[in-house]
Amino acid sequence: MTSPQRPTFLIEGPASACILGGKSLGWLNCTPLSAAMGIDRSTLGEDRISGCQVRDEIEPSDVVGGTTMSQCAAVAERHGVQVERHTGPNVCTPVYAATQLQAGRGFILQGNTEAIGKANVNHAVWINHSGGGTLGHPTSAMVYDPWSTGPAVWSWSKVLAFAAALHPWGEADKRRLGPGKFYAGIFPDTEPHFHSRYSGIAASPLPSRKTATAPVGRKVNARSGPGTSFSIKRMLPRGTVFMAYQTTRGQRIEGSATWFGDHDGGEWIHSSGLR
C-alpha cells in the first residue's frame, strides 16, 4: 500500500523571500506556506503555488505582520480546496483532528514554538499524516514545519505540546491555549489516491489486488502505457501480485480494451494478464 500523498516542502525565509507592497514578509508567512503545502497535497500536486503567492492572494490585501487561519483558508477555497476551520469557539479536540488525519486529511496546526525549543512565536505547520497508535491517538506525525529544513517526524506528544502552547491573545499575553484544543484547518481527504494517466479512472476497490495469470513458464508484460506499442517495463511471472489503482480503455486484445494501471500510471497490464 502506498503512503499518503505528500506535498513539496516549502521553507520559510529569508525576509526577502516574499516582498509584497514593498514589505519583506519572508519570515511572516508560516500560515501561507502551510496552506500552500495543503493545497499541493489536496490537489495531488496539480496545484503547486508558493507561500508568497498565497500571501498575495489574501483579500483584502494584508502585508502587515503575520496572517490568520481564516485568511489563508479563504485562499485555499478559491483554489477549490475546502478547509474545515476550527478556531476560536469552534476549536476541535486533538482526538478529532487525529482521527481525520488517520482517515486521509492533512491539516494546518497553529501553535507556539516555545514548546519546541525556540522563542515565544505563534507559528503554523502542516501536519501531513500520522503513524502508529490507535484511533485518535497516533504515536507520531509527519510534520512540514516551514521554519525548519524539511519534513520531520514529530512524536504526537510534541504535536500536542506545540498546539497547547499557542498564545491565542497574542505573544505578549501570557495566556496559553492549553491541552485538549486545536486551532486547526483541516483539508480534504485524499486517501487512497492515485495519479491518473492515459485517462485512468479509479479501480474498484481502490486499490484492487490482482495477480499475474501467465501460462506456466511464461510471463505477463507490464508496459509503460495501455498498448503493445508501449515499452515493456518488467515481466511478471505467474502469481506475481499487481496492485491496480486505475483502469482505462486502451488497445483491444482478445476482445477486451481494459488495462489496469499502478499508482503512478507508469505500469499498465492488459486485463487478460490479471485476475
Binding site: 503512503s3 482521527t99 497553529q110
Partner: protein, 43 residues
C-alpha cells in the same frame, strides 16, 4: 515511497471513525476567532 512512520489504524477503520462530527470543546467560548502568526527568523 516508503514511510518512516509505523502502521496505525487502517484507512477503513479511520474513515468510519472520522464520520463522527466534531463536538464543541468546553471552555472554548471566549477564545479569539483569529490568531495571527508571529515572526520567525534566522537561528
Amino acid at each position: 515511497m516508503t514511510d518512516e512512520l509505523e502502521d496505525g489504524p487502517t484507512l477503513e477503520e479511520a474513515k468510519a471513525a472520522a464520520a463522527v462530527p466534531p463536538e464543541t470543546v468546553p471552555g472554548s467560548e471566549d477564545l479569539p476567532e483569529d490568531v495571527r502568526d508571529g515572526e520567525a527568523g534566522d537561528e
